[in-house]
């Protein structure tokens, strides 16, 4: 038995799998579990579909845990599903959202890496695929998307932490996610990916300093989203396009989803920025999740209202 799951604690992979089963069993009318693929080490990639609708309704895709050591990220995806099912019918905004749209939640994108960060190396980042002609393991899944994939020479060293992989979508994890998003593109109106750390809300582009065509709208959503987030505990987030807010990056899921046609894509860099970095104490999981929930609900409400 994997032991007891807790939203106030970090949960290992076995506990998260058991939790997905529990959520489906407890809320069969609201939650279904889709296996969208398997990882390099044959672990399942599970997406939880939260919502009562058919595949035609507007939907938002959210993923967590693309980088193994960013543990507060999967904690947020679990919290989101928990709050959605718990407050549906009680909280006005959540009820309105779930009455009109669906959420596809990938609680852990980089399963093999996450398991490795629990069992062997807490500060592991990449996945666990073997690289040809190199003793170094792993690809940075957030450099493996086909979005200006090869534009930075520094990402082609298999021993580097931002190794982009031998080809775009070379990794089974990336392939599974891109296939799922492509097959649901008609209904997907937003894509939100959760990372840590440094308290930022970012949007395209990362691979160029050029502005995204709807930059004004993205800026407006990000500004209000970070304002709403700070109402809970006064946590300060900055926001803006990746390339000009932090630095230029290639092959990111955010840019790929945006260029595919999902015109509202956001990346959260969760707590913290000051003291703990990746090692955020469990006592800060709940406040981090609660404040982030406010921003995500605002974004979803905006998408519901402004997407066709």
């Amino acid at each position: 038995r994997p032991g007891r799951h807790s939203y106030a604690k970090y949960n290992n992979w076995d506990k998260i799998v058991a939790w997905t089963e529990k959520m489906v069993n407890k809320h069969p009318e609201m939650v279904s579990r889709l296996k969208i693929g398997t990882t390099v080490e044959d672990n399942p990639l599970y997406v939880l579909k939260v919502g009562k609708g058919d595949e035609k309704r507007k939907a938002i895709f959210m993923d967590c845990g693309i980088h193994a050591r960013e543990w507060v990220s999967p904690a947020f995806c679990q919290w989101f599903v928990y709050q959605a099912t718990k407050t549906y019918g009680k909280n006005k905004i959540m009820t309105k959202l779930l009455d009109q749209m669906d959420f596809y939640v990938l609680p852990v994108f980089n399963v093999d890496g996450y398991i490795w960060s629990w069992k062997k190396n807490r500060l592991w980042r990449k996945n666990r695929s073997k690289n040809q002609n190199s003793r170094c393991i792993g690809t940075d899944l957030n450099r493996n998307f086909n979005a200006s994939w090869s534009s930075f020479p520094d990402t082609k060293d298999p021993c580097g932490d931002t190794y982009r992989g031998p080809a775009p979508e070379s990794e089974r994890e990336t392939e599974a996610v891109t296939a799922f998003i492509r097959s649901h593109l008609k209904s997907l109106k937003a894509y939100i990916t959760f990372h840590s750390y440094s308290q930022m809300l970012l949007f395209p582009y990362g691979y160029t300093k050029q502005s995204a065509p709807n930059r004004k709208a993205l800026t407006k959503v990000a500004k209000i989203g970070t304002d709403v987030l700070s109402t809970r505990y006064e946590t300060r987030y900055i926001y803006g396009p990746i390339a000009s807010t932090i630095y230029r990056t290639s092959g990111s899921s955010l840019d790929w989803a945006y260029d595919l046609g999902i015109k509202h894509t956001f990346a959260f860099e969760l707590r913290d920025k000051g003291r703990f970095c990746f090692l955020l104490p469990e006592s800060q999981i709940k406040p981090t999740c609660k404040e982030t929930m406010l921003a995500v609900k605002f974004i979803a409400k905006y998408i519901l209202k402004h997407s066709s």
């Binding site: 970090y10 062997k120 932490d161 750390y197 932090i246 630095y247 703990f276 970095c277 955020l280 104490p281």
Partner: protein, 94 residues
Amino acid sequence: LAPVRFDREKVFRVKPQDGKQANVIKDLAKSNKLDFWYPDATHHVAANMTVDFRVSEKESQAIQSALDQNQMHYEILIHDLQEEIEKQFDVKED
């Protein structure tokens, strides 16, 4: 394979004031094993950016001397990483 331990490993937070100081960090990364926490990798290091990186206890002395010699602004964010890793589990089982 036993789990990796990070006893007395350190995390430095450095604020390079100009391109020269940014290059000091990049040079240190060539001759030491630095795990960049922010930004993601050496090639993103630039002036006026907060740079966080992890370094082994053994190499941390040399890193600190190099930063001092170059009059760089830095702090040691985490003095014993293994301790911090163990301290993150600060919520009791229900």
